[in-house]
Point group: C2
Chain length 261, copies 2
């Protein structure tokens, strides 16, 4: 739990970061080194609606101008980030904590995927628990004592032959899964708002094509016609043309069959 | 489809990047600018087992020493990356293509989430189709013509108030979802390999605790005893102690109740 002193140059703070966003997990960076990485982490978080950042004994003190410079637009997160002298102080108001580790430790804790983590966090945050995700410093990651403060481990399933996620990338994956679990699954498509053409329009297009093909002597031998027509219908129906697209295609086929006649 | 010339300093190439890894989607960067970003993208990909990188008209030519420098360990990906003069040349052998866009365009294409994309890609790759994910350059992203070459759009559900994913971060999210869909869901926990203690051990622990508490006059008033005992049992059972942990706890309680006697 590492309650002892970590670094002398941390202003003690108690309040949690206010946030006008929906409740989201707190991201806790334990002994981060470069301000640039703190800023990059803030950006990664804010991309997915996470704005509560806590720092445990940041090496270069806090606030850190390098963090603000890198945050480029995520100042909201950096400005509200709070530094704590110890991990237990940073977690004092948290009910559920997960620790990110590059590989599962030999520790008797559940190991969750990022997606499982996000689902658990959403459920717990929905019932009012403050939840935190711990990230270790750039050099050594979380100590075993840090991990022992957590309820579970979350490991990102990287390529075993090449595992080199940095701090902000790990935060990005966790924040992304959080946003998904929080309902920001995907954007709407312009397709969602455009109705498919009524079947009569499609039939008109198919009739026109078949007539033009007939004229060009396409259906040969004649006994294959039903299958050929059906294949054509299936292919053109699957596209789910809109009225406009059907109109366009009618023009296209009209032009082509005129040219071919 | 932009078949026209893009940049003069691209060596034409045909072969696809060989890979000793499992089949995975091809990542296609359209008119990337900084070699550093190409290298960072290669790293993001390789973290999740994706090794096929194609470049369309990279601004600074190819190969690019800055990409190798940034790839730090993902040289495997950078060394095998191939530059193409046009998008249609890069996609010539691909059967299914998704285009990443920061926001869905006003285009009649399905808009997928990264997870949906990964599931579709896995299905198609399993049946032998080569699939590609398109990423736009740092400055302007994909053109509408580039997007029109795709079967679908994939947009990462970022915070609408703050959307600033860079190229390598977008690639990271897609590669991460790919790895998940490809079965690299999560690591095992050390817990998986350790059996929970048999119930008799747990009962022994509980009996010991109850006896010690009895001795200390804890169960008061007496009629509350059944409920208090049950609550204790529930809490201690839920932890799923191992045999070792039960042994440790028995020692702890033994020590404590001795001191209190």
């Amino acid at each position: 739990m590492s309650d002892g002193p970590r670094a002398p140059h941390v202003r003690p703070a108690i309040a949690s970061a206010p946030s006008s966003l929906r409740p989201a997990p707190v991201f806790v960076l334990v002994e981060p080194q470069l301000g640039e990485n703190i800023g990059a982490t803030a950006r990664a978080m804010f991309n997915f609606g996470c704005a509560d950042l806590r720092l445990v004994a940041p090496r270069d003190g806090w606030p850190n101008p390098a963090a603000t410079a890198t945050a480029s637009g995520a100042d909201y997160v950096v400005d509200r980030a709070v530094a704590y002298p110890s991990l237990s102080a940073a977690l004092a108001d948290c009910a559920y904590v997960v620790a990110t580790t590059a590989r599962p430790r030999e520790m008797l804790l559940p190991v969750l995927s990022p997606q499982e983590t996000a689902e658990i966090l959403r459920h717990r945050i929905d019932r009012g628990e403050r939840c935190a995700i711990l990230f270790g410093g750039e050099r050594a990651g979380l100590s075993n004592e840090d991990v022992a403060a957590a309820n579970a481990i979350v490991s990102i399933p990287v390529n075993p032959a090449f595992a080199s996620l940095n701090l902000a990338q790990a935060a990005l994956v966790l924040a992304y899964e959080w946003a998904k679990a929080d309902g920001r699954e995907r954007f709407a498509s312009a397709l969602d708002a455009v109705a498919a053409a009524p079947r009569a329009d499609l039939d008109g297009l198919l009739d026109q094509i078949v007539a033009a093909l007939d004229h060009a002597g396409y259906f040969h031998p004649e006994h294959r016609r039903p299958v050929m027509e059906r294949n054509l219908r299936v292919a053109l129906t699957r596209a789910g043309f809109t009225e406009n697209e059907v109109r366009t295609l009618r023009g296209v086929f009209k032009t082509l069959s005129r040219g071919g006649a």
